[in-house]
């Protein structure tokens, strides 16, 4: 699979080049935020609430000040106006309840891990030790943990109403209720007797991001002139700069945000965290650098969680399996506060429930609920894994009800490749796709018929190990996003991306991107795109990113947007650079611009190959500016800021065979085939890695992971001993392949791949387990499908069958 590019004529786009980043990363030549050591740094430690809901009746930090090496300690009251509030930039409805989210809790704490006070010391250990000296008393209040109980009349309120009266835990309600033919009930009624309705409740459990590098921030007021420099383990340095300026009141043009090497994000670092606000405000207040690196225990309680939805889903079809309608009722857990895009996450899913299927009716409703739990927000897939899980699970349930093969049911209802572009009942226009091709390839690799035969045999012989087959024919929307669309959804930002490319006097290329990689391999892939246009070696391109000082414009990395949107900016900037270079080259070669062709990094006079000028020579000429044509400015650089025309829609067919030990409930993945269509692949090796990682993430949710609270709001899964993440030893060797249906919404034909595996795989896994156990009366298994959950489903199924 791996190859090194030697053929100078070869287009680097499409080559499985090894990542430029890896030698440095693997040799530890890295610069994590926690590695940054500045003279005079104060280490911040945070006193966190041990209670889910309580009034703070006494709080005194002065004893901590007497501890060795302690320089300062603050409560919310001490900080006053400096105690910023975490903003939410996605008010999804006009009447959404948006309570304040103070960095340090004021009067009340609302989840275990809420920040109560901070200590600053010259030594990290001393800061941690001094937390013990803080005097704090709490008056416990009833904790609101269960979502359905939270929205009942008379429930304890997580937040008071704006006027101070007893509040409601409903953050917002977002209905999509079409009238007439598009209404679910009307569609069912119109079908008369020829209708089958299947209704299920699925629980999409709460998960954590689980990145390797914990969150960290260093805020230094010791920059040039008035500059405050902030290093943060973040996915969004550019967005962070804007938000920090808005929250702190510091002039945006005095803030420089750097995301140095960042060890994974998975959405968990798509955030403005309260700890970042505290570090900046206290650094500003004390005039010294402030550093905070969280422990894993802090991460578990205070970094945002994801998913956590109750999904009531109803599907109706004719008796021969033609879908006539879908109805989705969600209850989505916001947690205790709204982080930057918390309310919008379930609504990203709203668009995806109809998935790849044609249907005339679709209704959706979502109630966002406050509880005394860690806030939720985006985690890999953000709303789309939840939607994909529900629709792909209920397709299997409908197939069982109809006594149809689940793949046949899908084939009967999906959009065929001739029907693109296709506008779905949810209002999205899918540009391209070929579900038939991806499925055919996956079925071929999987050996569907042979596995079905083995399944029959095991059923007949009463084998304690049963075999199940799970299907997930998924699609997703990525490439967030057209700015106008985001505006229409009340999202307070755009979705454009920027690139500047500089041809330096020495012939090297500097590519400045607004994307912010944290493991994705942008340095390699972006070099490949630019090299394919500029005709220079991939290694001659240096990608500059994640520093608002060096790469001032960008919208960062999340939602599988970097290639789909950022790639367009690279292409356009590179083409503009060639355009400008051509004018200079024509002047140098004393010919007309029209007489030049640009081949393999050199301008050649058509019909006279001896007369040519390499790009590097043009760049040097632009630098010296000794002999530029009239009206041409010195330096050779070009930039582009691109707003995407639309989302892109990767899709694929994932097939999974699972052996379920019916005596112990343990599930073992026997084979997993993933055929993804992510459009044109810039680097298939990186695509492969993204698919593998996504699968591990999704399989983790399906089989292992799940945040658990007790009824008092204590986080039970507070360490990796209790919150289980699969390792390579727990996962099978994946069989992966691709079909290539280029996207037509961007000139590179690319889609996105970062989230695909995480979105596609949970229903494939659970469908396989349920398929194995259906003869035992099992129609659902709760995620994560732990041995005990599977065992209990078998017990309940057999009990029901008696």
């Amino acid at each position: 699979m791996t190859e090194t590019l030697t053929d100078a004529n070869a287009n680097p786009v499409g080559r499985p080049l090894r990542r430029k980043e890896d030698a440095r990363l693997l040799h530890g030549q890295t610069n994590w935020t926690d590695n940054i050591q500045l003279p005079g740094t104060l280490h911040m430690a945070i006193l966190r609430s041990p209670m889910a809901h309580a009034r703070i009746t006494n709080l005194d930090v002065t004893p901590a000040l007497k501890r060795p090496h302690v320089v300062a300690a603050f409560t919310a009251k001490d900080l006053g106006d400096l105690n910023g509030s975490v903003p939410c930039v996605w008010p999804v409805t006009d009447d959404i309840q948006m309570p304040g989210f103070p960095a340090l809790a004021v009067d009340k704490v609302r989840h275990v891990g809420d920040c109560v006070a901070v200590v600053l010391a010259t030594d990290k250990y001393a800061a941690a030790d001094a937390l013990d000296a803080i005097e704090v008393d709490y008056e416990p209040l009833p904790a609101v943990i269960d979502m359905e109980a939270a929205i009942k009349q008379g429930s304890t309120a997580v937040h008071d109403a704006a006027d101070g009266s007893h509040g409601t835990n409903v953050c917002y309600e977002f209905p999509l209720k079409p009238q007439g033919d598009g209404a679910f009930d009307a569609a069912v009624k119109a079908a008369g007797d020829d209708v089958v309705v299947v209704k299920r409740r699925f629980i999409n459990q709460r998960v954590i991001a689980g990145y390797m590098e914990p969150r960290a921030v260093v805020a230094s007021p010791m920059g040039m002139s008035n500059e405050m420099t902030i290093w943060s383990a973040t996915q969004i340095p550019h967005v962070l700069r804007v938000l920090l300026a808005l929250v702190t009141g510091l002039p945006e043009n005095s803030l420089r945000v750097i995301a140095p090497d960042v060890g994974g994000g998975f959405g968990g670092k798509l955030q403005l965290y309260r700890e970042e606000i505290l570090a900046v405000q206290i650094a500003r207040h004390l005039g010294r650098p402030v550093k905070w690196t969280e422990t894993r225990s802090e991460d578990m309680v205070a970094s945002h969680h994801g998913r956590d939805q109750i999904q009531d889903i109803e599907i109706a079809s004719t008796k021969d399996g033609q879908i006539i309608g879908l109805k989705v009722d969600l209850i989505a857990n916001m947690g205790a506060y709204l982080q930057i895009i918390t309310p919008g996450i379930p609504l990203l899913g709203m668009f995806m429930y109809p998935a790849i299927y044609k249907m005339p009716a679709y209704e959706f409703n979502c109630v966002g609920v406050f509880t005394n739990t860690t806030p939720t927000d985006a985690i890999r897939g953000a709303g789309r894994p939840e939607a994909t899980y529900a629709i792909e699970r209920i397709m299997d349930e409908l197939a069982a009800e109809l006594d149809m093969d689940p793949m046949q049911l899908r084939e009967k209802n999906w959009i065929t490749h001739e029907e693109f572009p296709y506008t779905t009942v949810a209002g999205l226009t899918y540009d391209t796709g070929n579900y038939e091709a991806a499925t055919a390839k996956a079925m071929d690799l999987f050996g569907y018929d042979a596995l079905r035969a083995e399944q029959e045999q095991r059923r007949a012989s009463g084998d304690p190990v049963q075999l199940g087959i799970g299907i997930s024919t998924f699609t997703e929307m990525c490439g967030l996003a057209p700015s106008r669309t985001l505006g229409a959804l009340k999202y307070v930002a755009g979705g454009w991306e920027h690139c500047t490319i500089r041809a330096l006097p020495t012939g090297k290329i500097e590519l400045i991107t607004g994307t912010s990689p944290h493991g994705q391999g942008h340095e390699t892939a972006w070099s490949q795109i630019a090299a394919s246009i500029l005709g220079v070696p991939v290694d001659d391109i240096e990608v500059v990113h994640s520093d608002t000082g060096r790469a001032p414009y960008g919208m960062d990395t999340y939602g599988s947007r970097s290639l789909a949107v950022g790639g367009q900016a690279i292409k356009k900037a590179a083409e503009r650079l060639v355009e400008k270079a051509k004018v200079i080259a024509a002047h140098q070669l004393e010919c007309s611009v029209d007489d030049l062709e640009f081949i393999q990094g050199a301008f050649r006079v058509k019909g006279d190959p001896a007369k040519s000028q390499p790009l590097a020579a043009v760049a040097f000429e632009a630098f010296t500016a000794h002999n530029l044509p009239d009206g041409v400015e010195p330096t050779l650089q070009a930039e582009a800021t691109v707003d995407p025309d639309d989302f892109s829609y990767p899709h694929g067919t994932h097939l999974c065979a699972i052996e379920v030990d019916t005596e112990t409930g343990k599930s073992k993945i026997r084979s997993y085939v993933a055929v993804d269509d992510v459009g044109i692949q810039v680097n298939p090796l990186i695509v492969e890695g993204q698919v593998h990682g996504g699968l591990a993430c999704g399989i983790g949710q399906a089989l292992y992971e799940g945040v658990e609270y007790d009824s008092d709001g204590n986080l039970l899964t507070a360490s990796f001993a209790d919150y289980l993440i699969p390792s390579a030893a727990d996962l099978p060797s994946f069989t992966t392949d691709r079909t290539v249906t280029p996207s037509s919404t961007n000139p590179l034909g690319t889609k996105g791949v970062g989230e695909a595996g995480a979105i596609a795989s949970p229903p494939a896994i659970i469908n396989a387990i349920v398929d194995a156990l259906r003869p035992m009366g099992v129609t659902d298994v709760k995620m994560p499908a732990t041995p005990e959950n599977v065992w209990r489903a078998i017990q309940a199924g057999q009990g029901g069958a008696q």
Binding site: Y704, S719, L724
Partner: protein, 285 residues
């Protein structure tokens, strides 16, 4: 995840270590491989004022032949135990179980003695020690004493060691002819602790099980022998049905806990299934 400050000493002999422990008083704690203790310290679930690091004490290393038993130094790592020729020959159950402990990194640092002294009910090796009737050799200010495995594991994370005593070696009896063994571990991920584990040793003669030893992991505050299974197996035919019938008693007398990985009820169910499998595997049926 930052431990409380502590003093650290690294004695070179067992006697020096005992003196250091005595000097440390109540809040002294022995550390060897540190694979169990370090997380406890980082989570501030324990706050010893002095750590006595016995990791470099040469006399506690190595595995030797003691005639009818093996002497396994408490400092032998899991990796050494699982790969040792003597252990593989005379106590294959121990070699097999040591190979299921956590992951390779931990097996290279964690020690046999540390695992026993830690007395984690979810630990695999205490169960094996109990099944094999191993004897613990402990040394303290008053000299050396031997403690049978059945008396050594007292309660959750509590062994029979006195505060100033150090577990220096473990005597593991050789099983002898006719015996075969199996450790059946059930966990949720490859590196996780046992949800339930079963150590089985079976002596077979002409299609009959003449003697059996079965011990259970994580079915109570300490590893426990499944006595009623052992009794039912003695003299039973080495058949699937007879083994299944005996294994149905596996949860008798156990006191499993409920936690995030399994309820007590499910553990009791697992104990029966896994005992059946462990005994069948050991008996070769």
């Amino acid at each position: 995840m930052i431990p409380i400050a502590f003093d650290y000493v690294r004695p070179g002999t067992v006697d020096e270590a005992i003196s250091a422990l005595a000097a440390a008083g109540e809040d002294g704690k022995v550390i060897s491989g540190g694979q169990s203790l370090m997380p406890v310290l980082r989570l501030r679930m324990a706050a010893p004022t002095t750590l006595v690091d016995i990791g470099s004490i040469a006399e506690m290393k190595g595995i030797t032949d003691g005639g009818d038993h093996l002497v396994v130094g408490a400092n032998a790592t899991h990796y050494e135990v699982m790969n040792d020729a003597l252990v593989k020959q005379h106590a294959p159950l121990l070699a097999q179980a040591a190979g299921t402990v956590a992951d390779p990194a931990i097996r290279h640092r964690g020690t046999f003695g540390g695992s026993l002294a830690h007395a984690d009910p979810a630990g695999d090796l205490p169960t094996v020690a109990l099944a094999l009737d191993a004897t613990m050799v402990a040394k303290g200010p008053n000299g050396t004493r031997e403690i049978a495995a059945k008396d050594f594991f007292v309660d959750y994370f509590t062994s029979a060691l006195e505060p100033e005593e150090i577990l220096v070696a473990v005597k593991v009896p050789k099983l002898g002819d006719g015996w075969s063994t199996h450790y059946e571990k059930f966990n949720r991920t490859a590196q996780a602790w046992a949800t339930v584990g079963v150590a089985a040793a079976v002596k077979r003669q002409n299609g009959t099980i003449t003697e059996a030893r079965v011990a259970l992991t994580n079915m109570g505050p300490s590893p426990v022998r499944a006595s009623s299974v052992e009794a039912a197996l003695a003299g039973a035919a080495a058949t699937t049905d007879a083994i299944a019938a005996a294994a149905a008693n596996a949860a008798d007398g156990t006191r499993p806990t409920s936690d995030l990985h399994a309820s007590a009820e499910f553990r009791e169910h697992l104990a029966k299934v896994l005992t059946k499998r462990a005994v069948a595997q050991a008996a070769g049926v």
